[in-house]
């Protein structure tokens, strides 16, 4: 797919990635690869108990061990902190936010909670010495299951709060009771969004280098959010922001798990400051299972009111969401990112939503790819299938009957979808699938009693991303704005420097952003140099999450480049002694209308910097800066279709075909977009079929490693058929939408709907995620009874 418009060279083309050369040859600068002279290695001693009083911390043996420089308990470091680790999203006025310090000093509240640290001359020495810590615990009653934690009388995660409930947030629109009272049918479903472990393949890592003479600290972290870290950690450490520089080097995937302010970052900073030597910490994978945030863990009850024809009239959704033991950066807000979307891409009159956040003795939850929206889309897309069963219609027809068709559309929950084409996406998906042919094959397999049955599942979706209009964030009590900052500069040589506050961790920012600026300025994409991820180089930014880089950061760059063109026009006019209005501008060249006299933007750069002959009063230089605050969210949507084959004898379910037809607006780099979709789908398929973090009754994470937690390999997933419909976003000048999370948001219900459909003739209507062979087999057996 190539959709390069006339007058453009790069936007719409699959420009090969600039990022690849270093990464393909082993020259990536990941934190684990970095060293600093005199560096010490940090190891964290973690609680083996889900809930316990810490009665004594004896580190004498640790301190005596070979290679150890120092060791500290939580109490011994208490004076280092000017404040707790931040929660930036107090979603309600009366939300309960317990203090969360980098080390626990009196109580451990989940398995993995840090209780002491060791600094040693080598990684191995730090690890070995950590084993010698002698910590006395008085185990307390714990609760890891969110349903149990929400019950009165449950063990309290934070006794002083007197409840496990952190908050309840609710919204309502339309005549909900009337609509439900008058409905021909009401379908009611319950779903469990199991707990997931993000598992970016690069575990987290931190390196802090102090400059003792000035008190400056440089934090290099495997993070998505260097700017957020600088602002918040300077507060935690009680130091001026000016003395803290944060660098995100090459980062090996994030998916939300590196969108946080972590204890280990604060610890490395405090210890480097205290001891005047660099400190490094690299997470081990089994440690990551405990110490890096988890995703999902939400119970959902959803009701749809509808006519007997299947026309939806209202939706009610009730969520109970596990916060884990503490509120991390955005923990309470995550389920609410789906709060407006429980009606999906359908028209209806009434809407009711509430969510209660509940503490449990588990690793804190926070953003994991899709964050709140995979949950909402799962609930509505599974329930629409339930409605189709109830009214005896094809799930495709029920969707079609209910689609929002006119744009802009104010949805029942009150936000405005700027553009979309749900029906077009569905039609294209059905065509690619050959729906009638599929149903024939399915019927034939059923008729022959083949042990391997086929099912198809649909997910027609819309999501809101491109976080976010600052005003709306303010209304939601989020602690920051949603803008992005950009600077574009043309050097006298013609080299173009671009700086964005959005930093990459695999999404191809350098390539995509260069394409945008190269087309605006009419320069070669290779002459564009991209800078990001270092607060000393790019001081302003809101970082990368919520599919915001292109729809917010890309627009800021586009606007900054536009300012350069405006100034260049004045310089060119001055040089050619014509009026600025006499020019036509295309492909980086100002041409005097009706002549062949012209000057390029890069040529004006030479004049701008030599400044020998500029218009009176004009400052030298050629640079544009912009801070872009999006007026609306970004609204990707589309239709995903999964075909599953289920072995009715073993319970094994596999996705054998997968079709994704997405509207992500105009596409800058089709190959990059397809890559985002493929990766997103795979994480959604993983939730549907394979992944689940399981705690036992004692509060241990029983499958806390990659041998027990099933991250799918290439052998578990198929190749994907990816296509697009384009409803360009009228919200921004490039017409683009976010794409980083669409696959994950769309895919999970498509897959589970397909697995259920494969067994529909046996009477199966529901299988809890992940639909493991055991669960599938049980569902078949139960349906027989």
């Amino acid at each position: 797919m190539s959709v390069v418009e006339e007058g453009r060279t790069y936007i719409g083309a699959s420009v090969p990635r600039k990022e690849d050369a270093t990464l393909l040859t082993g020259q990536g600068r990941f934190v684990e690869n970095l060293t600093a002279p005199g560096m010490m290695h940090l190891a964290v001693v973690r609680s083996p108990f889900a809930h316990a009083e810490i009665t004594e911390v004896d580190l004498s043996q640790v301190r005596a061990a070979k290679g150890v420089v120092a060791a500290y308990s939580g109490a011994e470091l208490a004076d280092e902190w000017a404040g707790p680790l931040p929660c930036a999203w107090p979603v309600t006025e009366d939300i309960k936010i317990p203090d969360h310090f980098p080390l626990a000093s009196d109580r451990a509240r989940y398995v993995g909670d840090g209780v002491a640290v060791v600094l040693a001359e080598s990684r191995a020495a730090a690890k070995d010495a950590a084993e010698l810590a002698s910590i006395s615990y008085e185990p307390l009653e714990s609760v890891t299951d969110v349903a149990l934690a929400a019950r009165p009388g449950a063990p309290l995660v934070h006794e002083s709060l007197d409840t496990n409930e952190s908050y309840t947030w609710a919204m309502s629109a339309g005549e909900v009771d009337t609509v439900f009272g008058e409905a021909d049918v009401v379908v009611k479903e319950r779903y469990r969004q199991q707990r997931l472990v993000p598992n970016a393949i690069e575990p987290r890592g931190v390196l802090v280098e102090p400059v003792a003479s000035t008190g400056e600290l440089t934090l290099t972290s495997s993070t998505q959010v260097p700017h957020i870290l600088r602002t918040t950690l300077s507060g935690v450490l009680g130091m001026p922001e000016a003395k803290l520089r944060v660098i995100a080097p090459d980062v090996g995937g994030g998916f939300g798990s590196k969108l946080d302010v972590y204890a280990e970052e604060a610890l490395c900073l405090a210890l480097a400051r205290k001891l005047g030597r660099p400190v490094k910490w690299v997470e081990e994978r089994s440690e990551a299972f405990l110490a890096t945030i988890h995703g999902r863990d939400v119970l959902q009850e959803i009701e749809l009111a509808a006519t007997s024809e299947g026309k939806i009239t209202g939706v009610r959704a009730r969520l109970t969401a596990s916060m884990g033991a503490y509120l991390q950066l955005a923990t309470p807000g995550i389920p609410l990112l789906g709060a407006w979307l429980y009606g999906g891409c359908y028209e209806m009159e009434a809407y009711d939503f509430s969510c209660t956040g509940v503490f449990t003795n588990t690793t804190p939850t926070d953003a994991y790819r899709g964050a709140g929206r995979p949950e909402s889309n799962y609930a509505i897309e599974r329930t629409v299938d339930a409605l189709a069963r109830e009214v005896g219609k094809d799930p495709v027809d029920v969707r079609r009957l209910n689609f929002i068709k006119e744009f802009p559309a104010t949805i029942v929950s009150g936000l405005e979808i700027d553009s979309g084409d749900f029906e077009g996406a569905l039609d294209r998906g059905l065509e690619l699938l050959d729906y009638e042919d599929f149903r024939r094959e399915q019927a034939a397999r059923r008729a022959s009693g083949d042990p391997k049955q086929l099912g198809v599942g649909f997910s027609t979706y819309v999501e809101m991303c491109g976080l976010a209009p600052s005003r709306i964030l303010g209304a939601l009590r989020y602690g920051a704005g949603g803008w992005e900052a950009a600077t574009v500069r043309i050097l006298p040589t013609g080299t173009v420097q671009i700086m964005s506050g959005a930093t990459p961790h695999g999404q191809s920012h350098a390539t995509t952003f260069s394409q945008i600026v190269a087309d605006e300025l009419g320069v070669d994409v290779d002459s564009v140099e991209y800078f990001s991820g270092d607060t000393a180089v790019v001081p302003q930014g809101m970082d990368t999450y919520g599919s915001r880089s292109l729809a917010v950061g890309g627009i800021a760059l586009h606007q900054a480049a536009g300012k350069i063109v405006d100034k260049a026009r004045l310089i060119a006019a001055h040089q050619l002694e014509v009026s600025p209005d006499d020019f036509e501008y295309e492909g980086g060249r100002f041409t005097v209308k009706g002549t062949d006299r012209s000057m390029t933007v890069t040529e004006t750069a030479f004049h701008a910097w030599t400044a020998h002959n500029l218009p009176d009063g004009m400052e030298p230089g050629l640079e544009g800066a912009s801070v872009y605050d999006p007026p609306n969210f970004s609204w990707p949507g589309g239709c995903h279709i999964a075909v599953a084959e289920v072995d009715t004898e073993t319970g094994d379910a596999r996705v054998i075909r997968y079709i994704a037809v997405d509207d992500v607006g105009n596409v800058i780099n089709p190959a990059v977009v397809a890559g985002q979709v493929h990766g997103g789908i795979t994480q959604g398929v993983a939730q549907a079929l394979y992944e689940e973090a399981v705690y036992d009754s004692e509060g241990n994470l029983v499958n806390g490693s990659l041998t027990g937690y099933l991250v799918p390999s290439a052998a578990e997933v198929p190749s994907y058929e990816v296509d697009h419909v384009v409803a360009a976003s009228p919200t921004n000048p490039l017409g683009v939408k976010g794409v980083g999370e669409t696959g994950t948001i769309a895919s999970t219900p498509a897959v589970v709907n397909a697995v259920v459909d494969a067994l529909a003739h046996l009477g199966v209507t529901e299988i809890e995620m992940p639909t493991s062979p055991e669960r599938v087999w049980r569902a078949i057996e139960e349906a027989k009874r």
Partner: protein
Amino acid sequence: MKRIGLSVNGSPHELEVEPRELLVYVLRERLGMTGTHVGCDTSSCGACTVLVDGESVKSCTMLGVQAEGRSITTIEGLASNGELHPVQQAFHEQHGLQCGFCTPGFVLATVSLLEENSSPTEDQIREGLEGNLCRCTGYHNIVRAVQAAAGKELPA
């Protein structure tokens, strides 16, 4: 400490290693070959894959002392004279990498896979790379890269 001799990317090395030291740390910390990554502690992810006498091995499953007399190829040794190896080139052209953390392992596992079977089917590729995890690409373009490197016509 034990003295071992091994060849890495064609250069001979002699060094003292601890008996418990894993090959991956010998490469990364002793020899500065940081292109070989560590993604897990259970031999599950394949980020640490290298070639030992031409065959792919997860270097976190092998002790440094076991590398005595062996010839190791890491990702740093694959390109020659500034030219990417055909497998690296195919990963680049097919967008087979995003964050790139898993990539050295996948590239070397692919070199070994194609050495054993120069014309694998899609299923053989997927099964052949089962020991390597990627969280970014969903494997679709990795499979295409392997097909391209094998000189296969790519499906649309």
